[in-house]
Symmetry: C2
């Protein structure tokens, strides 16, 4: 897959990722390290909570989305580097056995005012499960170098 | 530490976390699993990039922030559960050896329109390093149960 400069991106372009299956072991391992709350650690403990059963931490979903993004067709020169985003939504939780994939839509491409050798790319990254239900939406602003 | 219902929170309250030191090994282990880009994996490879040296993935910073939050004085009844946030900013990267801590400021507390037994709490969670420089800001919307 070819790496792209700022000039090679345009609003409306869609890029896709591979698929990734989320095991209960992976959900629990992430939670033990970063988000040790009962509903992310144990299915029985999760039944009495808002989640009604084991659910991945939203930050685990975000981390897995980054893994899918790094391996996807979306390949800016220099890597995927951003200073943040205007939105992060988790409309439903990721469950054990879910198969995740990513759709990346380029929303905006613009030159930097202050740095002539780079620009800013805004994209909507939608993470979907095996039923095409949305589990996460982020709209990051990425730094992408200009050609030459 | 006492768990709080929605009624126990008010705008302007500040909660704090413990401190956590970020080792180079932890930066690399997270990156191998979730964000395998050269500037998160190897100090020498990172020198020629925008980062100028090994830097933690922004999603690693977010994951460590969640770890600090779960262990902090900020303890809503039922846990820390949110459907997303309006902002996520990484003004500077986390570096090997950085010591992180968290300040949580309650911005807004309101009843749910549709669910009489719960409400929504909006908070600004600022992650700082050992020089009191901001490495992350998030403003999550959390679901918090009402008393009784």
């Amino acid at each position: 897959m070819e790496e792209r400069y700022l000039e090679d991106f345009a609003p409306g372009q869609i890029f896709r990722s591979d698929r990734l299956t989320v095991t209960p072991e992976a959900i629990i391992a992430y939670a033990r390290e970063y988000d040790p709350q009962p509903f992310h650690l144990d299915d029985a403990a999760a039944r009495g909570t808002l989640f009604g059963g084991l659910a991945a931490s939203g930050w685990h979903t975000a981390s897995l989305t980054m893994k899918l993004l790094v391996g996807s067709e979306f390949r800016p020169v220099g890597g995927i580097i951003g200073g943040g985003m205007e939105e992060l939504a988790w409309p439903r939780p990721v469950r054990p056995g879910d198969e995740l994939r990513l759709e990346i839509e380029v929303l905006e491409v613009r030159l930097s005012q202050s740095k002539p050798r780079q620009g800013v790319l805004r994209a909507r990254c939608t993470t979907l499960n095996q039923r095409d239900e949305v589990v996460q939406v982020i709209v990051p602003k990425l730094v992408v170098p200009r050609r030459g």
